[in-house]
């Protein structure tokens, strides 16, 4: 069974803190994605990776960076968290040549 796991379901951080969100998939997928989900805005792509150590900016990369050192793991980094980064963060993975994305359960991040 396909599985994408995210390290935390809920996270509360202070403004200015460095925040790491971790995502692991067990499907040997080449492609991994980070989205943020906000009410009325749907899902917006932050970054994606199509291979180990490879990354591309999505639609809203400002204030974020990513790391992919191993195929199964994709990390989202908030270098200096701000209150406008309070959101639900969703990780997804997909096999090359296929369209379906598999999502993790999400991390609800609150920055105070």
């Amino acid at each position: 069974d396909v599985k994408v796991t995210q390290s935390s379901r809920y996270l509360v951080k202070r403004t200015g803190e460095k925040v790491f969100l971790e995502c692991v998939q067990d499907m040997d997928h080449e492609n991994m994605f980070w989205y943020r989900q906000d009410p009325g805005l749907g899902l917006r792509l932050i970054y994606f990776s199509y291979d180990v150590k490879m990354k591309e900016k999505g639609d809203i990369p400002e204030g974020y960076s990513v790391s992919r050192e191993k195929k199964e793991r994709f990390s989202l980094i908030l270098e200096s968290a701000s209150t406008n980064q309070t959101s639900m963060y969703l990780c997804a993975s997909r096999s090359t040549g296929f369209d379906e994305q598999y999502f993790g359960p999400g991390t609800r991040l609150t920055v105070t």
Binding site: Y35, P39, G42, L45, L90, F103
Partner: protein, 113 residues
Amino acid sequence: QQQVKQSPQSLIVQKGGISIINCAYENTAFDYFPWYQQFPGKGPALLIAIRPDVSEKKEGRFTISFNKSAKQFSLHIMDSQPGDSATYFCAASMGTGGFKTIFGAGTRLFVKA
């Protein structure tokens, strides 16, 4: 041109009724149109998808209707059940395995028992 506009924002339907959610796009290069279903506390999961070479796709109680000339597509849920209560996202992307999927804003469906 990259937007996918989804309506309504929320929908209340009686059990047994038909739920209809609509989406519109502008970029004619989109060639894959999925619908994702998200239950509270879960990530979205693919429900049904269509490519523009067909006008309709049906899977059980779920049907996508696709109008290429109008650049619109819709999800119909027949005989809606309380278990269908969830948030539904339409989306669009380009090319097989296209990296960028553009999602609609989502529709929160509530089916009354």
